[in-house]
């Protein structure tokens, strides 16, 4: 279940972390990614009744807003400023003892092509089905499923040196 509540807070609590993670594919800084999610979520909530699948529509809104953000003026300078930060902003939360493994997973995810990475984010952390992912990305469901399989295969190769418990 990707979300069916009529309370916007439920939607944001359920999908917020995955939406920010998705936005960070195109928006480097976490604060900017949250700005994108804010704008996308407001647009989504105001027009969600028109969507055949609201959850798929929410993720599509985030991607569109992130791409709009990229097209905005002065974005390049902001991206360079964020990239110049010495400390990286973590993609995932969790116990410190698994920090290395989380970093390796994040690196493997970040090394994926964009088209595969967005499918993994929507499937694993967004909880969307392949038809929902297909609707969000306007691709056939089989394409969404094959991108997911290819992504996992690449990540396995990337993580080959890391033991998987």
């Amino acid at each position: 279940m990707a979300g069916g509540s009529d309370q916007w807070t439920d939607w944001l609590d359920r999908h917020g972390p995955a939406l920010v993670l998705l936005a960070r594919q195109w928006v480097v800084g976490r604060a900017d990614a949250e700005d994108v999610v804010q704008e996308a979520f407001v647009r989504f909530w105001r027009s969600r009744h028109r969507a055949a699948d609201p959850a798929a529509y929410l993720y599509a809104c985030v991607k569109n807003c992130a791409l709009d953000w990229l097209r905005g003026r002065n974005r390049q300078a902001r991206r360079e400023r964020v990239a110049a930060r010495p400390e990286g902003e973590p993609f995932f939360d969790g116990p410190a003892e698994h920090g290395e493994r989380r970093a390796a997973l994040a690196a493997a995810l970040g090394a994926l092509p964009e088209a595969q990475r967005e499918v993994v984010v929507m499937k694993i952390w967004g909880g969307l089905s392949f038809p929902q992912i297909a609707a969000a990305l306007r691709i056939p469901p089989d394409t969404a499923a094959s991108r997911y399989r290819y992504a996992l295969a690449k990540m396995r190769v990337q993580l080959a040196e890391e033991p998987i418990p």
Binding site: L12, V20, R30, R50, L105, V120, L152
Partner: protein, 147 residues
């Protein structure tokens, strides 16, 4: 896809993306509070219906106008010629003159009639006087080609 659990998939699902900042929820709440609730959903269908009605009316008017265009043009009947005002003015005094002349005496009426007859008997120069045939029957038959 296989139903067997994929270790990598399970490991990815076990980690959680970093939580969004609490500030995000507050800002979303502010934005949603200032927004009109779903007003475009009502305006949009009304605009479409209004457009369709206007289009139907326009088509009806165009068809009605083109149908009228096929009809034959109305025949323009020229108004009947009005009699010349001078003739009316002339006729009334003439009749009045006859009545007055008769009232005075029959002789005076006769004199007036004679005067009018003399005036109207003037020869019209446009008329052609036709004289009697002067050629013989034989000559006429020759001209007409009869035996």
């Amino acid at each position: 896809m296989s139903d067997a659990p994929d270790p990598l998939e399970a490991e990815l699902a076990s980690i959680r993306p970093a939580d969004a900042a609490p500030e995000l929820k507050r800002r979303v709440a502010e934005r949603l509070a200032e927004s009109p609730p779903a007003q475009p959903r009502r305006v949009w269908p009304m605009a479409v219906v209004g457009g369709l009605i206007a289009a139907c009316l326009a088509i009806g008017v165009i068809r009605w106008g083109s149908g009228r265009g096929v009809e034959p043009a109305p025949v323009v009947v020229p108004p009947p010629p009005q009699p010349a005002p001078a003739e009316v003015e002339d006729a009334a005094p003439m009749l009045l003159a006859y009545q007055r002349a008769l009232a005075r005496s029959p002789e005076e009426l006769d004199a007036l009639l004679d005067k009018e007859a003399a005036g109207s008997a003037e020869v019209n120069p446009d008329l052609v006087r036709v004289g009697p045939l002067t050629r013989s029957d034989a000559t006429l038959h020759a001209l007409l080609g009869k035996d």
